[in-house]
């Protein structure tokens, strides 16, 4: 650790360091020679296709997939067409772009997932070059064809191919090109000899980089930074021009003094970098060019590949892998020789302290005098995050912890967080795992994605450990890992269904957020329906089982599970699925066994398919229901004949149901309807649709007494009702003669009080008095009171000696009529 700065190389104000990440554990005989290599950023996996040009069936190219540390994940012989380019998606999938425009997708372990094509015209003109790029929309692919046309898609998971416009004068591949993402648009930047063009969806625009002298010659190589913000160009004359990618501003120009085009040129920056710099690679040379005229040069002893990262460049060779990056400012301040920064002093103080030297105190005091102890701790904490070497990490963290002791109100949060995170990072950096993530990258990719990556690599135990250690809520952490594990487990064909189900259940248990139905769905997808059924049994929420059961064509089971769940929406989903799946008879039978489903479907049919409703009732032999169905159908019939026919059907059904009352009532309704029709035709009475009572009333009002009486007889209307009705109708018409005649026709079944009532109501006191004599003694008092005949009422009441009636009369008696009052009171007292 004393030699931290030994690997530092100064360039302008900044330093660059090369840290060895791994000694590659792969057994590559020829290194990376003659191979297509793709390594994913963020310490992703590496794919190597050796001798991709070989086509003869006897010696096909070989595709290998390794972890970043060189552990073999998959290896197989490439049997498809000629591959032009390999690339990785953000979700660790390998894209193999073939010459014929087909793109094959494999997972980390080399199993084929799917493929897509980049268009018909591409297969004729052949893909010359291809690039895989990442943008906020996902992972995309861009190609250039033999006729110099570009096609690209920004997201392979939501495939939309875009054919870019023609570039004037371009035959075949351009000199060099790059994909840019700007203003939410993906563009292609290309150079063709001395000309530079930007291609977007609709146009091809010639551009020129600001400040690039025309003598610089044509552009041989270009590179866009990780964030798409910066652009670097390498010209024929060995100049490296850097500027913003929108070609608005120039950063600087450096002469590399090299004439040949570099094999690779990539940006080497970090967030908040001190200077923009690019790394260029030739056969035997690695060169870092920054803002000053100087460059750093490293010799290369074997074929290498540069992998751009968020905060540096990984240099991958046949035997080693190194990280080349700008030294972070905080590390510089601490480790720079003779640095007097607070962090450097604190580190020194702690070193002395460990040596039990009193100079520790001197250093500390110096820091404290400047009041920068907090700053010192912060620096050490931050610098620890940037170190790869565990010993250095520890030294820095110990120093920070030491300094912290002398601070009273310093939040422990950053210190604790960095300790935890470094622990996790050190674990995943292990060669056996092979995820060489820097702290900056880790922060950028988030712990969620890290867990995903571990899961993709099937490192389930480690992923669970990480989740537990970082205290990630179970729902997003452990459960998620378990779900992936289980989904992977059910695909292992070497185990019996029984064994898999048992293992899965034992491990997953009741973890929240793990859905057995998802696992079962996976099992079904991998062709193990029996296992799927077994797993579904563990699913606690019956509703979750339904979709898969439907997919597996276990419709009956699905229906009963849906009913069990109590979710009517789900039940209806299954019902409508069954409706299309089954023949009508079976469908109805199925419904019959599930009353809930049946009633739901009935509700639906009532509105949407009334014919089906009828069939349903028929199936059930529900004759009462059918009767009701026909009755309500009758009311919807606009024409009387139709209505009568429907009612006749109803009568038949009611008879079948032995519902005499309804049958008879319906028959009578038909009779009434016919009667009404007759009268409507004869007299224009407008009776259609009235109730029996209203019909009679209408007839009486029209003076058709005979017809009303006929109705009364035909329908056996109780006398009382008819009397009431006729009485009221006559009085309302003021047909007093007819009323008189009516009163004499026979003895009134409702008594004569109502006669008095209706007359009074229609303001004919004289007529009312006529009926008073006929009123029975019990009602006499009431009748007299109605007429306002107090004397009469009093007489009747006294005669009957009824206390209540006496009271009633007394209550109506005005105070002025003393005589009557006395009489009544006397009568009451007598009683």
């Amino acid at each position: 650790m004393a030699f931290v700065t030994a690997s530092w190389n100064p360039l302008g104000d900044a330093f660059y360091r090369k840290t060895e990440l791994y000694e590659m554990s792969w057994p590559l005989r020829d290194g990376l020679r003659d191979s297509l290599v793709a390594a994913a950023p963020y310490g992703g996996p590496i794919a190597i296709l050796r001798e991709p040009q070989r086509r003869s069936p006897s010696s096909r190219p070989h595709l290998d997939i390794y972890s970043a540390s060189g552990l073999s994940l998959a290896s197989f012989v490439w049997k498809s067409g000629t591959v032009v380019q390999l690339g990785w998606t953000v979700s660790d999938e390998l894209l193999c772009v073939q010459e014929d425009g087909k793109v094959l997708i494999y997972d980390l372990f080399g199993s084929f997932k799917r493929h897509f094509s980049l268009g018909q015209e591409v297969s004729q003109s052949q893909v010359l070059e291809a690039k895989v790029f990442h943008s906020p929309y996902g992972s995309g692919v861009a190609i250039v064809t033999g006729c110099g046309r570009f096609t690209l898609t920004t997201n392979i998971d939501d495939l939309k191919l875009r054919r870019l416009p023609e570039v004037p004068g371009l035959q075949g591949a351009p000199c060099c090109w790059a994909v840019l993402t700007q203003d939410r648009q993906t563009k292609v930047l290309l150079s063709n000899g001395p000309d530079l063009y930007v291609l977007d969806n609709t146009s091809c625009t010639a551009v020129s980089p600001p400040g690039l002298s025309p003598e610089a010659g044509s552009i041989l190589q270009m590179s866009v930074s990780f964030s798409y913000k910066y652009l670097a160009l390498f010209t024929q004359t060995g100049l490296v021009w850097t500027g913003t990618s929108n070609l608005q501003a120039k950063l600087c120009e450096v002469d590399t003094k090299m004439r040949s085009a570099p094999k690779q040129m990539v940006w080497c920056r970090r967030p908040r970098a001190q200077q923009p710099s690019v790394v260029l690679m030739w056969e035997r040379l690695l060169l870092v060019a920054g803002q000053c005229s100087d460059t750093i040069q490293f010799p290369l002893d074997s074929v290498s590949v540069l992998v751009p990262e968020l905060d540096g460049v990984r240099v991958l060779s046949g035997s080693h892998q190194e990280l080349l990056q700008e030294v972070p400012l905080v590390s510089q301040e601490i480790f720079k020789i003779a640095s007097m920064s607070p962090g450097a002093l604190l580190l020194e103080a702690h070193r002395e302290y460990e040596k039990l030297s009193q100079r520790a105190d001197e250093y500390l005091r110096e820091i404290k005098e400047q009041c920068v102890l907090a700053e010192a701790v912060r620096q050490c904490v931050e610098a620890a995050g940037h170190e790869w070497d565990c010993v250095t990490q520890k030294a820095l963290l110990r120093a920070a912890s030491f300094g912290k002791c002398f601070l009273s109100d310093f939040s422990p949060e950053p210190f604790v967080t960095i300790c935890r995170e470094l622990r996790v990072l050190n674990a995943v950096r292990e060669s056996s795992v092979g995820l060489p993530l820097t702290h900056t990258q880790f922060k950028q990719m988030t712990v969620q994605v890290l867990i995903d990556r571990l899961v993709h690599r099937r490192l389930y135990p480690l992923a669970i450990e990480v989740c537990r250690y970082l205290k990630i809520p179970e729902f997003q952490g452990v459960s998620r890992v378990l779900r992936h594990w289980a989904e992977c487990k059910v695909q292992q064909t070497d185990l019996s269904d029984e064994a898999v189900a048992r293992t899965v259940c034992a491990k997953v248990g009741d973890s929240p957020g793990v859905s057995y139905s998802h696992i079962a769905a996976k099992a079904y997808e991998s062709g193990r329906p029996e296992l799927a059924i077994k797993l579904l049994e563990f699913e606690a929420r019956s509703g979750e089982q339904v979709p898969l059961l439907l997919k597996m064509k276990r419709s009956q089971l699905a229906l009963s599970k849906a009913v069990e769940s109590g979710d009517t929406d789900l039940v209806f989903t299954v019902v409508s699925f069954l409706k299309n799946e089954m023949n009508r008879g079976d469908f109805f039978m199925t419904l019959r066994n599930q009353p809930l489903a049946l009633s739901l479907y009935r509700q639906f049919c009532k509105v949407e398919e009334s014919q089906t409703l009828k069939d349903l009732l028929n199936q059930d032999d529900d004759h009462d229901g059918l009767g009701n169905f026909y009755v309500s159908a009758a009311f919807k019939e606009p024409r009387l004949d139709g209505r009568l026919a429907s009612l006749q059907n109803a009568v038949d059904e009611y008879n079948k149901a032995k519902n005499d009352f309804n049958a008879k009532a319906t028959e009578e309704e038909m009779k009434l309807l016919k009667f009404q029709r007759k009268l409507d035709e004869e007299k224009g009475a407008g009776l259609q649709g009235l109730s029996l009572q209203d019909t009679m009333e209408a007839l009486l009002n029209l003076g058709l007494y005979k017809h009303a009486e006929q109705l009364c007889r035909d329908f056996r209307v109780p006398d009382k009702r008819f009397w009431w009705l006729k009485l009221r109708a006559l009085a309302e018409k003021h047909d007093w003669d007819e009323l008189d005649k009516f009163s004499r026709s026979k003895k009134s079944p409702i008594g004569y009080l109502p006669f008095v009532e209706v007359c009074v109501k229609n303001h004919n006191q004289n007529e009312a008095k006529k009926y008073l004599v006929k009123v029975s003694p019990e009602q006499r008092v009431k009748a007299c009171l109605l007429l306002g005949d107090l004397e009469g009422a009093a007489d009747a009441a006294i005669e009957r000696r009824n206390e209540a009636e006496l009271g009633a009369v007394l209550g109506r008696c005005p105070a002025s009529n003393r005589q009557l009052m006395d009489r009544l009171q006397r009568a009451a007292a007598k009683k």
């Binding site: 929420r541 639906f604 009701n628 309804n662 009532a665 009578e668 309704e669 029996l692 109780p718």
Partner: protein, 611 residues
């Protein structure tokens, strides 16, 4: 009436439900940026008005408001938004609209907001009519409307018919979610009691949601007790005439979401006035729970004190007058206005009620409840029907007769039905079929059918047991469930002169003639903290009772004295008044949650409309 006991805890703040609903609605409206016309289901008008008024809607770029009328529309807007209940008819109408626009080559954006939830059945209609892609669907989780401080309504009147008549349980989950929402706002609940088949299902749905969703209950429980009851456990109560003021106003004028429209004969002017009826209304809050016979006295008393307050201003100097005008006058005027409205309403109700021989009607009802003079009651109903007094009232009495007698003799039933059909038309055949399904109007097990059963069973057993059997069967024939329940629970108080001014039990809500069965059950269970000792009662109610006890908070906490009563299928204002009385007596706070405020005519109309 007696004021709240001093140890009763305050009511929790239920208005938070309104804010939650409004925020979500605004969010949904903003999902469709730009000007749009809004079509609203007629029965959502009033609830919506409580949540967001027109100006709020206008703020979120709602241009014109229309009622959904199932007719072609006149709107010319580019964007149409439909706020509807998830009903197939309405969705079909929207489909026709979209398709006719398409035929005319007209391009618009359509958005349907279903509330309280969207149903797959509705979406499948969209799909079948080929407009699924043209319309975007959303869901406004507007489950609960706080109608007053202690009443929360789901505003789902169709719950009753859908659930109990059609056997369609699609609302169960909705209610379960509502309970879940209440749980997360006011819970955790520690004691849940319930009775009824649907109550059990609602509880189950609630429990599953509790398990599967991450529930956060903030802080301590505010309400710990919950009582869930199915409407069909007690159908008698809603079929009794309401005589407490609030109930009567509802019967006569119809209260919609705590708002009533008083017709011109009440307001003594030429236009009708909409009035909010809730605890904010000082006059109303004092009379709402009173028996109607007390209301007049109270109102005149109130008028006198009001006059006195006005009179104070005589003999005031300028300064006093100034404070009087600025501080008191406005309140007095407001109170004056309300007072005159309520007096007007009382008069109007009095007029209507006396016109229909209300007293006689009440007497018949009371006889039915007590089981006296059955023949007289039947002939009263007969006359009621044949004179066409009122279609709904006749039906109500019929239901009450059948419910209290546990069905009618076949002969009586046939004749009453025939009379009814003659009076009000044959289409009521279907109404009777619905009433039968609901058990509202049924045929009694006749003595003949019973004796037939008896002889059949008698042949199988020896003579001694046969004797007992005969006894048992004949007792079955005589006693109706309601009678037995009434005896077991003492539903009909045996007091001669019931003082309605100083009521001593919940029977006052029905003039001292009957204690609502539902409220009595709640009282008994809360007293016992379980169903034990009520086995006989629950057997008569067909079981389905349950209680779940969780860990309670420290004894004596306010939350333990708060009770949430959930009525599945609606409850009446009389029941709410009875529960308020109960709460006052026991020092509790009862919050009534109901699928809808109901009364006999609402229930019956929903059955008649179905035809």
């Amino acid at each position: 009436m007696a004021s709240q006991r001093r140890d009763a805890p305050p009511l929790p703040d239920v208005s938070v439900l309104k804010r939650v609903a409004r925020d979500q609605l605004i969010f949904l409206l903003e999902q469709l940026p730009g000007k749009k016309d809004l079509f609203i289901d007629p029965d959502l008008m009033s609830p919506l008005d409580r949540i967001a008024n027109v100006s709020t809607l206008k703020q979120h770029e709602v241009d014109k408001l229309y009622k959904v009328e199932h007719k072609p529309i006149v709107s010319v807007a580019e964007q149409l938004c439909f706020l509807i209940r998830p009903r197939i008819q309405t969705v079909t109408w929207i489909c026709d609209l979209v398709n006719s626009d398409k035929a005319l080559g007209r391009v618009r954006r359509y958005k349907i907001i279903f509330t309280p939830q969207k149903f797959f059945a509705c979406e499948s209609v969209l799909e079948e009519r080929g407009v699924f892609g043209d319309v975007s669907c959303d869901q406004w989780d507007f489950h609960l409307l706080p109608v007053d401080d202690d009443i929360i309504s789901l505003e789902l009147p169709e719950f009753f018919t859908d659930t109990f008549l059609a056997g369609d349980q699609r609302w169960v989950r909705t209610v379960g979610s509502s309970l879940h929402l209440l749980h997360s706002l006011f819970g955790p609940f520690s004691k849940v009691y319930g009775i009824g088949r649907i109550a059990k299902m609602v509880y189950e749905s609630f429990r599953t949601q509790l398990q599967t969703e991450e529930t956060r209950t903030k802080g301590d429980a505010q309400i710990e007790n919950v009582f869930i009851i199915d409407r069909d456990v007690d159908l008698v109560t809603p079929f009794c005439s309401q005589v407490v003021y609030e109930g009567l106003v509802d019967d006569v004028f119809r209260i919609k979401c705590g708002c009533v429209e008083f017709s011109p004969d009440v307001t003594a002017s030429d236009k009708s006035i909409k009035v909010m009826l809730n605890s904010q209304d000082k006059v109303f809050s004092e009379i709402r729970n009173e028996h109607f016979s007390n209301v007049f006295g109270f109102l005149s008393q109130k008028a006198r004190t009001l006059q006195m307050s006005y009179d104070k201003r005589r003999g005031m100097d300028i300064k006093q007058m100034k404070t009087f005008v600025s501080e008191e006058l406005k309140g007095l005027k407001q109170e004056h206005r309300l007072l005159s409205l309520h007096i007007g309403a009382s008069e109007a109700m009095m007029k209507r009620k006396t016109k229909q021989d209300f007293q006689e009607l009440l007497r018949t009802e009371h006889s039915l409840l007590e089981g006296f003079e059955l023949r007289e009651c039947i002939s009263f109903i007969e006359e009621h029907i044949s004179r066409q007094v009122s279609m709904m009232e006749s039906l109500r009495l019929l239901c009450l007769l059948s419910l209290t007698e546990n069905g009618l003799l076949p002969k009586d039933l046939r004749s009453l039905k025939a009379q009814y059909l003659q009076s009000y038309g044959f289409d009521h055949l279907l109404t009777f079929s619905s009433l039968k399904t609901l058990g509202l109007v049924q045929e009694q097990h006749t003595a003949e059918t019973l004796s037939a059963m008896e002889t059949r069973v008698g042949r199988l057993v020896n003579d001694r047991t046969a004797g007992k059997l005969t006894e048992a069967i004949s007792s079955l024939a005589k006693k109706s469930n309601f009678r037995a329940l009434s005896r077991k629970l003492n539903l009909v108080p045996k007091v001669e002169d019931y003082d309605l001014r100083v009521p001593k039990d919940m029977a006052y809500v029905f003039s001292g003639a009957y204690i609502p069965l539902s409220c009595r059950l709640i009282e008994q269970v809360l007293d016992r903290e379980s169903w034990s000792g009520l086995e006989e009662v629950t057997r008569l109610l067909n079981g389905h009772e349950f209680n779940v006890t969780g860990s309670a908070s420290s004894p004596g906490a306010d939350s333990q004295r708060r009770v949430l009563v959930l009525f599945l299928g609606g409850c009446t204002f009389s029941e709410i008044a009875a529960l308020r009385f109960l709460a006052r007596e026991k020092g509790l706070r009862i919050i009534t949650v109901t699928t809808a405020i109901t009364n006999s005519s609402r229930i019956l109309e929903s059955l008649v409309q179905r035809n």
